[in-house]
């Protein structure tokens, strides 16, 4: 079923006595197609595991349900950023062109331009900048929020030690059950993964 010595190409060949003993990070089961992956994910979910994940080369349709994932809070972050963008943008254009505060130093005080006798502040003329700032701030928060919720960038990951795992960006699917899970029990978890039709089960060490 598995050949550990050939798989862990990147890990050190043997401990030299002083090196710390590597701890078990997870068990990783490999799957070759989407259907068996989805079936396996449902079984792992029903077995009650908590610290586990499915790794795939593309977003697998229906995996959210199969894994029992909760929806992300990202849209709420975006909404908050959008509202902050509207408020901040409106304040900015109003402050810089429609106010003048003698008490403040010139650097911070607004400056009231009178252009062609038009009103000092009117919403329509200020909408473009408010709109663009709203989109800008919302987009930045959405992008950075996605990275932060995913704990990225994370340049080290125990899974990267496995040569087999390199195919996760190619054509293989992996179910990874972490040793930190309260239900984790190496022989039992291994039996579960093997019973789900995984083509190989590998020990991932930290």
């Amino acid at each position: 079923m598995m050949d550990r010595s050939a798989d862990n190409l990147a890990s050190p060949p043997a401990t030299d006595g002083n090196a710390p003993v590597p701890s078990l990070y997870a068990l990783m089961g490999e799957f070759e197609d989407v259907d068996s992956l989805l079936a396996a994910a449902e079984k792992v979910r029903d077995a009650g595991y908590r610290d586990w994940d499915v790794h795939a080369p593309f977003p697998v349709h229906g995996i959210d349900k199969a894994m029992g994932m909760r929806p992300t809070i990202l849209p709420w972050l975006s909404l908050g950023a959008g509202l902050a963008g509207v408020a901040g943008g409106t304040f900015l254009v109003w402050w810089i062109n429609a106010t003048s505060t003698a008490a403040l130093p010139a650097t911070l005080s607004g400056y009231q331009y009178l252009i062609s006798g038009k009103p000092i502040f009117s919403l329509p003329a200020n909408i473009p900048i408010i709109f663009e700032l709203t989109v800008l701030i919302t987009s930045i928060v959405t992008f950075l929020g996605m990275l932060a919720l995913n704990r990225l960038p994370m340049l080290y990951h125990p899974l990267f030690k496995s040569a087999r795992f390199r195919r996760v960006t190619d054509d293989r699917f992996f179910v990874v059950i972490e040793a930190s899970d309260p239900q984790f029990d190496e022989p039992k978890t291994r039996a579960l993964l093997e019973g789900l039709g995984s083509t190989a089960v590998e020990r991932i060490e930290d």
Binding site: V34, D53, V54, H55, A56, P57, F58, P59, V60, H61, I63, D64, M67, M69, T72, L74, P75, S78, L92, V93, I96, N97, A106, T107, L108, S109, G110, Y111, Y113, I115, K118, A125, N126, P128, I129, F131, E132, L133, V135, L136, T138, S139, I140, T142, F143, G145, M146, L147, L149, N150, L152, P153, M154, L155, H157, F160, V168, T169, D170, D171
Partner: protein, 497 residues
């Protein structure tokens, strides 16, 4: 090799790999939806194809193209350096034509960028799966076009080192930018557009850079791609947030892209100059931007699919779809030309009437008729499927449309300015060698960036194409299953592409 419904192999050359074989998959029969991915259809074949382009040894043709682009970029450096050191007097801009080539080029390049966002955001929201093969390099094109665009207003202001005055930064003069001016709206619109496009492009690329990381053989590439891919592991929990963020960014980019060229058109529409002062400008500019942008995507896609062997991913159906969008947006542009004539006549206003007649019959009539030929006559050939599926004709028409869109901006800006209300202040505009050098140099910047992108980054969104492939295979599987007891129409057309 299986022949799927609707495919028709055009070149009988079985020795050619799938990426170089031209296959007609442009069937109009809704019962037999031809596939979007041709040839060997496995996840690995897609990975191999995309990763190989970025990891294979550099070809001689790339060096030749890169050398040529780089020399044009050098010309840009020389002309811009000369302009900054000497002053704006080296340009042809003068009174009455104070907005010459820099603004023509600015509007031209900003317009080019729009097709990228249209493909990546609007077609995404409309679930047009065919976009997956072309969205990545259309997005790259957007970013490089916006870079070219941003250059021109920055250097033509005169004292380029004070360009930061455009931003609302607290300063000792106690002055702020004027937020009711379309020129400041431009700063925010183009700045936001560049930032959002860059984030959208990079975010979509993270999983594909991870592909390159896992395929890279040498240490420097492993490290650089490793850093750029941010430690992507393909975790489904990550994919879920990634997809949600992608959807949100698409939803944000859609109104943004429509706003950007509208704001650019406000530069003209809010002026009182006949020929500029028109409420049709925002939709007219947006349609023209998409028209010109798709022309540029075709100009880049047709050679790229040939040279990089991507004909099985960027199929004839993709080209035909783009040609159809060009035809549709081209007709909108033509309609706007007609409306401009009509409103100037109907206004009964002599200055409005004069400016339109002066465009068609005045000293710049040649530019006007070049524009009419390129933007009105040339796209009409796209009504014919024979033309839409002929890559050579398509390439020629796309190039004509690009030229036409440049001349459209030339006509709008130069002819409106050079003869306005008072005949005593009329004049002519002549570009100098610096103007021409900067225009040619901007193409150098564009193609240099594009060639670097093609060489080192994933040109096709591999993960998105794989997701489409998984869907297609799922659908074909269902079709085969449904055929046995008799085809059910609802099933066959099910997961619509």
């Amino acid at each position: 090799m299986t022949t799927l419904a609707g495919e028709e192999i055009l070149e009988q050359a079985p020795a050619l790999p799938a990426g170089l074989r031209e296959v007609n998959n442009t069937s109009d029969d809704p019962r037999a939806r031809p596939p979007l991915i041709l040839g060997e259809r496995t996840f690995t074949s897609i990975t191999d194809q995309v990763a190989d382009l970025a990891t294979r040894p550099t070809r001689l043709a790339w060096y030749i193209g890169f050398g040529f682009s780089l020399s044009l970029l050098g010309l840009l450096g020389v002309t811009v350096g000369y302009l900054i050191l000497t002053g704006v007097g080296v340009l042809g801009n003068n009174i009455p034509v104070a907005w010459g080539f820099p603004i023509v080029n600015f509007v031209f390049w900003v317009g080019i960028g729009h097709a990228g966002t249209l493909i990546s955001a609007i077609l995404f929201l409309f679930r047009q799966n065919w976009r997956t093969a072309i969205n990545r390099f259309a997005e790259a094109m957007t970013i490089f076009a916006v870079m070219c665009a941003g250059l021109f207003p920055g250097v033509h202001v005169g004292r380029a080192w004070l360009a930061y005055w455009l931003f609302p930064i607290p300063n000792q003069m106690g002055l702020w930018p004027q937020a009711r001016s379309p020129l400041l709206w431009d700063v925010f619109a183009v700045g936001t557009y560049a930032t959002v496009s860059l984030m959208f492009w990079y975010m979509g690329m993270i999983p594909d850079i991870a592909v390159l990381r896992d395929r890279a053989k040498d240490r420097p590439r492993q490290i650089i791609y490793g850093i750029l891919s941010l430690g992507w592991t393909g975790s489904s929990r990550h994919w879920m947030r990634f997809e949600r963020a992608y959807l949100l960014l698409a939803a944000l980019a859609t109104p943004l892209v429509l706003s950007v060229h509208s704001v650019v058109s406000f530069d003209f529409a809010t002026a009182q100059l006949p020929g500029w002062h028109s409420t049709i400008f925002p939709p007219y500019f947006v349609a023209g931007a998409i028209f010109g942008g798709f022309a540029m995507v075709l100009v880049l896609a047709i050679p790229a699919r040939q040279w990089f062997g991507l004909k099985n991913l960027i199929t004839l159906r993709h080209l035909e779809n783009m040609a159809k969008i060009m035809l549709a947006t081209g007709l909108m542009v033509d309609y706007a030309y007609g409306v401009e004539f009509f409103t100037s006549w109907y206004s009964g206003q002599p200055y409005e009437q004069f400016v339109i007649l002066n465009r068609a019959l005045g000293p710049y009539a040649w530019a006007f008729w070049v524009m009419i030929f390129c933007n009105v006559v040339a796209p009409q050939f796209l009504w014919f499927k024979k033309v839409r599926t002929n890559v050579w004709l398509l390439f020629i028409i796309a190039n004509l449309c690009n030229a036409g869109m440049w001349f459209e901006r030339f006509v709008i800006i130069i002819t409106s300015l050079h003869r306005d209300f008072v005949p005593g202040s009329w004049g002519m505009f002549y570009p100098t060698w610096v103007d021409l050098g900067m225009l040619a140099g901007s193409f150098g910047l564009f193609f240099t960036m594009f060639l670097l992108f093609c060489r080192f980054l994933p040109v096709v969104a591999a993960s998105e194409v794989k997701a489409v492939l998984a869907q297609e295979q799922h659908r074909e599987h269902r079709q085969h299953a449904a055929k046995a007891p008799g085809l059910q129409p609802g099933e066959a057309a099910g997961a619509g592409v």
